[in-house]
């Protein structure tokens, strides 16, 4: 990590006091990016990182000088996943079809960050249209894991995870559809949070699977992530799927005791096939929680094994529809064709990568006449069964669940070429997206020098409880989380 204290809390305080200037902070971040070789030929973290833009945004922090209370994220540089609409840098979604596209409006979460004094810091690399688990499916090349550069950082929000893991920024925004924040967080040894579906506005988040997508937060620490999540959460009239539920104080949960609370250990997430070293780390983490007075209880989520099939029907189906707008007509890449139809086909086949095409094909197929009931409708029904598993466990007195985040640590770049095998790395994360419940990953140790993540899953809008547990575990593990 950089020598200048770079926690959100410290940056905020120091910037407000004037000890550190926002411009200095971003310059340090830019230096750090150079130092860790974040560029295209190195870790390839950013699709766009424009010094001029970053410095202009840092200047905007001056407007907060006169405020009595420091803005919640004052002077904090936040890396932004490239599927969130920003006004200055392009929004490419890791795709050729949006190369150079600069959005004429900005996402609600970006506006909220800026209103909280934060400084949007570049656009990070990602699997194209968020479809992937390794950030190898980007039109702009793969991103490398800063902890082990021959390894993937995870995906689809690999660039944002790497930006935090490399110490460039303390927090970053990513997005989740099937684990795209938690899995990279686990692979990179940082904190990654997926909120309850409907907690955070999707207005300006380029849609992949609308009923699953959520903006997520990466943080170097639980506190960094909690503070950022507080700022971006809340109902947005521009997103009809956001909930009218007040935002609790997540960072305040740091002071809460977990004594007497119940942690569920779902058996389906600890199969016999689980890497025993990962199992050991998880059990060690659970032991820490027990030491702090939490009760550990074995529970079952019986429909867990159906989650991947359900996900890989529902998500591609919605994606096939969401990606129809990329047709070369109003923005983005346009490839001339013989006629309109030719233009559509040439634009889309040239503009979309293989994985995107694969998912559009599957999605279109499962929605098509004759297959809708057997596939899409059936999957949505089974999804309800998966959600009911969580509901009944939580109704039975469990406050939070704890599981491994991923079945393996980061794999090598190029190691997995079979699409379905890649899909299986989402096996522990996808259920939370399907059920809409909040979940987060935090580092709980290392295996062969590679980070391992442990995951908390809480009931709908139970972020405060979830963070309380996360703070407690982080405190209890201390440096063990990174060894």
């Amino acid at each position: 990590m950089s020598s200048v204290s770079s926690t959100v809390a410290d940056l905020r305080g120091n910037t407000h006091r004037g000890t550190v200037g926002a411009l200095d902070t971003v310059d340090s971040a830019l230096d750090r990016a150079k130092a860790v070789d974040a560029g295209r030929d190195g870790l390839n973290i950013f699709v766009a990182l424009d010094q001029g833009h970053v410095r202009t945004d840092a200047d905007a922090c001056d407007a907060f000088r006169s405020h009595a209370e420091p803005a919640p994220l004052l002077g904090v540089p936040v890396a932004i996943k490239d599927n969130l609409a920003t006004l200055r840098d392009p929004t490419t979604c890791g795709s050729r079809i949006l190369a150079g596209y600069v959005s004429p409006y900005e996402a609600t979460v970006i506006r909220r960050l800026r209103e909280a004094g934060a400084v949007p810091f570049g656009k990070t690399n990602m699997d194209e249209f968020a479809m992937g688990s390794s950030t190898e499916h980007s039109a702009y090349g793969p991103t490398r894991n800063p902890v082990a550069p021959d390894r993937v950082p995870g995906g689809s929000s690999g660039g944002s995870a790497a930006a935090v893991a490399a110490g460039i920024v303390p927090v970053a925004l990513g997005s989740e559809t099937g684990g795209s924040v938690r899995q990279p967080a686990a692979f990179c040894g940082i904190v990654g949070v997926k909120p309850t579906y409907g907690r955070v506005s999707r207005f300006g988040l380029v849609a992949f699977a609308s009923s699953l997508d959520q903006v997520g937060v990466f943080g170097a620490s639980v506190d960094d992530a909690a503070r950022t999540m507080e700022v971006i959460s809340g109902r947005d009239p521009l997103d009809s799927t956001t909930a009218d539920v007040p935002v609790a104080a997540y960072s305040g949960a740091g002071g809460r005791s977990i004594r007497g609370l119940v942690v569920g250990r779902p058996t389906e997430y600890f199969p016999d096939s689980l890497d025993p070293r990962i199992r050991a780390r998880c059990d060690a983490a659970l032991e820490k929680l027990r030491e702090q007075g939490a009760e550990i209880r074995d529970v079952s989520l019986p429909h867990t094994e159906l989650a991947i099939p359900v996900y890989y029907i529902v998500a591609p189906a919605e994606a096939s529809s969401n990606l129809a707008r990329f047709d070369g007509v109003r923005y983005g890449l346009r490839v001339q064709g013989q006629d309109l139809r030719g233009m559509y086909e040439a634009t889309r086949s040239r503009g979309f990568g293989d994985e995107v095409i694969r998912r559009i094909m599957i999605g279109t197929y499962v929605l098509s006449a004759g297959y809708y009931d057997a596939y899409y409708r059936k999957a949505q029904q089974v999804r309800n069964l998966i959600a009911a598993d969580f509901a009944s466990v939580f109704a039975g007195g469990v406050d939070v669940l704890f599981t491994p985040t991923t079945p393996t640590p980061a794999f090598a770049i190029g190691a997995i070429s079979d699409p379905y095998e890649m899909y299986l790395s989402d096996i522990f994360t996808v259920t939370a997206n399907l059920a809409g419940v909040p979940a987060m990953s935090q580092p709980i140790g290392r295996v062969d020098g590679l980070p391992v993540g442990g995951q908390f899953i809480a009931p709908h809008f139970g972020e405060a409880t979830m963070f309380a547990f996360a703070y407690a575990l982080e405190r209890a593990l201390g440096q063990e989380a990174h060894t």
């Binding site: 009239p237 009809s240 529809s321």
Partner: protein
């Protein structure tokens, strides 16, 4: 092809018609974003990230669209459902920015209505069922002939709220189809939910028509007929397509389910060149919009607060104002005219005269200027006052017409105009006698012939006095004085 050709065919063959009508709702902003719906703006100026379908944009439903759609559905006798679901209808077209239209599929806003379109000879009603009313958004406009080799897209209209009204296949002739459309339009006008103008595009009709031998209960294969832009166009298109289908069937062929396009200029239907079979819309519930939940109490309140339906108004006019069928039809043809008439009738206390004046002078004026009653210069209470002036004998009927003309030109009240122009009726015998003297002097031959017994010359003499008095003389009094003078 003549009407009698169709009639001949219809002895052996039955025409079965269902209509799908798309109606633009009169909201200020679009269905899913706050862009203005105002017509006539420069291309692509009433657009935003949502209706441009920019990456990341999301829909937010307009409450007024829901109200107007509900009002329309209730007015058509439908059951409005407390839960309805938006769905995506997926297809590619350049004026459909998202690549899907937000519509409703298997859980629409309303179902099960009915509209009376006329009466049988025995007085029983002819009803057409309304299968469903659902909400959806309009697409943009494609202009094909403005630039060579290109199609020009204007997305101002993309996202304007629509309702789609689907009828049961209950119509059995082009005339019934026309009647249904006219009744539908009038109801929607009365409900103030839309401008319902086919010319302006706020009402569009797609027709489904099939033919079957009389007595056959199974429905024939239907074709869809599109591209009509008037009610009479719909009627003609239906007849042409019916004749075409019967010709095919009589020759032993079968009807291909296809889309036909009406060519108004040529007066014929021809097959659309689109590829059938590629219309797999892959409907699924819109994940960006949770189900629309309407409280039963709210629906009931909407029903209670419905503006008066045309049929109710017609009944009320006949009864309250003792008007005959013809007068009722003319005065209730459009709700604004009906409102105008009613204000005049109530203010003047004379429904019969009010009817005559509104159907006569007022409508004549509107026809002459192409204006509409909503912006008509003569306010109802002023017209009512004019009627009172006539009834009280303050001005003659002839003078009233002149005063009315002035009112149209200036908007001034009638009493003021009458004073100003000296049109107040003269009842003073001395003045009347004076004018009579002048006329008798100027027209001695006619006067002599009248005295000699040619009673019909009374009109001429009285008319001459009317002219001299600029319409102010009281013709009845004049006639009396004339009779007295010549001792008849």
């Amino acid at each position: 092809m003549s009407a009698s050709d169709v009639e001949t065919l219809m002895r052996d063959w039955e025409m079965v018609v269902g209509l799908e009508v798309h109606v633009q709702l009169k909201t200020r902003t679009k269905a899913f974003c706050s862009c203005s719906t105002e017509y006539g703006a420069a291309p692509n100026t009433n657009v935003c990230p949502v209706c441009l379908a920019l990456p990341g944009a999301l829909p937010a439903l307009n409450a007024r669209a829901v109200e107007l759609a509900t009002r329309a559905a209730l007015a058509l006798g439908c059951e409005v459902h407390p839960q309805s679901v938006f769905a995506r209808k997926n297809y590619f077209y350049p004026d459909l920015p998202k690549g899907y239209q937000i519509s409703q599929f298997d859980q629409p806003l309303a179902t099960g209505g009915q509209v009376e379109i006329g009466r049988n000879a025995d007085g029983s009603p002819i009803n057409v069922g309304v299968t469903r009313v659902h909400m959806e958004e309009d697409a943009g406009k494609s202009v094909h002939d403005r630039f060579p080799g290109a199609t020009a897209i204007d997305l101002n209209r993309a996202g304007v709220p629509l309702i789609e009204i689907v009828s049961e296949p209950d119509m059995r002739s082009a005339r019934e189809a026309g009647a249904y459309l006219r009744v539908l339009k009038q109801i929607l006008e009365y409900m103030a939910v839309s401008d319902v103008s086919m010319e302006e595009g706020s009402l569009r009709v797609d027709a489904n028509v099939s033919a079957r031998r009389r007595g056959e209960t199974k429905l024939g294969t239907k074709t869809e007929v599109k591209n009509m832009n008037s009610f009479s166009g719909v009627e003609r298109a239906l007849e042409m397509e019916f004749v075409r289908q019967v010709d095919v069937l009589e020759a032993g062929g079968h009807i291909d389910q296809q889309t036909m396009l009406w060519d108004g200029a040529a007066g014929q239907v021809r097959p659309s060149r689109s590829k059938e079979g590629s219309h797999d819309y892959r409907y699924f519930p819109e994940p960006d919009l949770p189900p629309l939940l309407l409280e039963k109490a709210w629906i009931e309140r909407m029903r209670h607060d419905l503006p008066e339906l045309p049929a109710t108004r017609r009944g009320r006019f006949a009864e309250e104002y003792s008007l005959g069928d013809y007068d009722v039809d003319v005065l209730t043809a459009d709700p604004q005219l009906a409102d105008y008439y009613e204000s005049v009738a109530r203010a003047s206390g004379d429904p019969k005269s009010s009817a005559n004046w509104v159907m006569g002078e007022v409508l004549a004026q509107l026809r002459a200027t192409g204006g509409d009653i909503g912006t008509f210069r003569v306010r109802p209470h002023d017209l009512a006052e004019l009627l009172r002036l006539v009834r009280d004998g303050v001005v003659s009927h002839t003078a009233a017409k002149q005063i009315f003309a002035r009112m149209v030109a200036s908007g001034d009240p009638p009493a003021q105009i009458a004073e100003r122009e000296g049109l107040v009726k003269v009842n003073d015998d001395a003045q009347l006698q004076g004018w009579l003297d002048d006329v008798i002097t100027e027209m001695p031959t006619e006067a002599e012939r009248f005295r000699a017994g040619e009673r019909k010359l009374q009109g001429v003499l009285v008319g001459a006095v009317m002219k001299k008095s600029k319409g102010r003389a009281d013709p009845r009094r004049l006639a009396q004085l004339l009779a007295e003078r010549f001792g008849t």
